[in-house]
């Protein structure tokens, strides 16, 4: 599985903390993910592949992805899970990198086993 592409219509889960990665609207409510989510470093964008989880339907898979997170990280009540479509992440990441770095490579999602479980795609 390592290195395989992640289907573009699948979803990624990203652990978001208020102090970064969560975007707040004028009502003071989380309304999205920070653009920092799309900032690509040497390891890509680290996230969890929701559909990889075994379960009956997306909700069950998402719950497992959240549970998985609690094993490897400190999770507080104020934290949120950002759910992103793979294709959109790659499109935005590619566009942002072309703009900010002149990087003309296209980005894609591949599976890279991580410390929490073997479902961490690097996009």
């Amino acid at each position: 599985l390592k290195g395989d592409p992640v289907p573009p219509d699948d979803h990624l889960a990203i652990h978001c903390q208020p102090s970064h990665l969560i975007e707040i609207d004028e009502a003071g409510e989380p309304s999205g993910v920070s653009p920092d989510v799309f900032r690509v470093d040497e390891e890509g964008i680290s996230s969890n592949w929701i559909e990889f989880e075994k379960g009956d339907g997306f909700d069950a898979q998402f719950s497992k992805a959240c549970l998985l997170l609690t094993f490897g990280r400190t999770v507080r009540a104020s934290h949120r899970m950002g759910v992103l479509v793979v294709a959109q992440v790659t499109a935005v990441g590619t566009a942002a990198n072309k703009s900010s770095r002149g990087d003309t490579r296209s980005l894609g999602g591949t599976v890279e086993p991580g410390s929490c479980a073997d479902n961490r795609p690097s996009t």
Binding site: S19, I22, G28, P35, R39, Q88, A95, A96, K98
Partner: protein, 292 residues
């Protein structure tokens, strides 16, 4: 020179800043403000221009005077000052104010002693005087004042408190709904002090001030979403539709923008740096997402 200009400006109800000898608006904390012993309103220090990264400001005054801290919009969070010379004993005051009433007053001394309740006056009706926003007004007496930093940080003061304090000091620049929105956003982002400490995030006051300055300068049609970068910088975002986003990140010295529109054919994208006071370097359609 600065005092006379300041008085004229005050009486005219226009500028609330003193003028330095070169005729430029004096920046609080950088230029001494002086005033004559003619009574009446003799000088005005604009708290909307508090020095950056200095939630606390020290004032040194030469003689007796009266002080008004005014906030026509709502509240001034705190005022901190010290008194020296001019027949008054050195003293310090620290006052917390909410909705026009003094909540706390600590360590008063010299002429600023509030035993008679008349020397230090807090009001909530200075709208015509300052044109909105909190201001420290010096009424009567003679002498000079020079602001200086007490310190850029205070361990006992949370990041959220410092940000809110900065927002309060700048509230005269913003529209009421922007103040409310920013307060809500700051609370949502920064209220978990333990998390801030764990993440070792250093939130930039200069970045927040840049954001406030941007909002004041350009009056965006829609209030932006707010987030923090990993570097502790504030980022404001506008999304005209779900697959388009423009984000401005305010650095200590300037600002950067990055925009993406995945619906456009071909997809539009762009990035660059810009000066907070001008959006000329930002192309369409991105600029049009913020202002007309």
């Amino acid at each position: 020179v600065s005092a006379v200009t300041a008085i004229q400006d005050i009486e005219a109800g226009r500028s609330i800043l003193g003028r330095d000898p070169a005729g430029e608006p004096s920046r609080f904390g950088r230029t001494p403000t002086t005033w004559p012993a003619t009574g009446g309103v003799a000088g005005l220090l604009d708290l909307r221009r508090l020095p950056l990264d200095a939630p606390r400001v020290s004032q040194s005054f030469a003689t007796a005077f009266s002080v008004n801290v005014t906030s026509p919009v709502g509240s001034v969070s705190r005022a901190l000052g010290s008194l020296v010379g001019g027949g008054t004993a050195p003293g310090h005051f620290l006052a917390g104010i909410a909705n026009g009433s003094v909540q706390t007053l600590i360590g008063s001394g010299g002429a600023l002693a509030v035993a008679n309740g008349s020397v230090l006056t807090f009001t909530n009706s200075g709208g015509a005087l300052v044109g909105g926003g909190p201001a420290l007004t010096i009424i009567g007496g003679s002498g000079s004042a020079l602001t200086s930093y007490v310190g850029s940080s205070d361990d006992a003061t949370s990041v959220l408190a410092r940000c809110c304090e900065l927002l309060q000091s700048r509230r005269g620049l913003l529209r009421p709904y922007e103040i409310v929105a920013l307060e809500r956003q700051l609370i949502a982002l920064l209220s978990d002090a333990d998390e801030i400490a764990e993440s070792e995030l250093t939130v930039s006051m200069r970045s927040l001030d840049g954001l406030i300055e941007f909002l004041a300068e350009h009056r965006p049609r829609v209030h932006p979403r707010l987030s923090l970068t990993r570097a502790g910088l504030f980022a404001a975002s506008w999304s005209p539709h779900p697959r388009a986003k423009l984000t401005l990140t305010f650095t200590p010295d300037a600002a950067e923008w990055v925009g993406v529109d995945l619906v456009a054919t071909p997809p539009a994208r762009g990035a660059g740096a810009f000066v907070i006071g001008a959006l000329a370097g930002m192309p369409q359609p991105f600029r049009g997402w913020i202002v007309d």
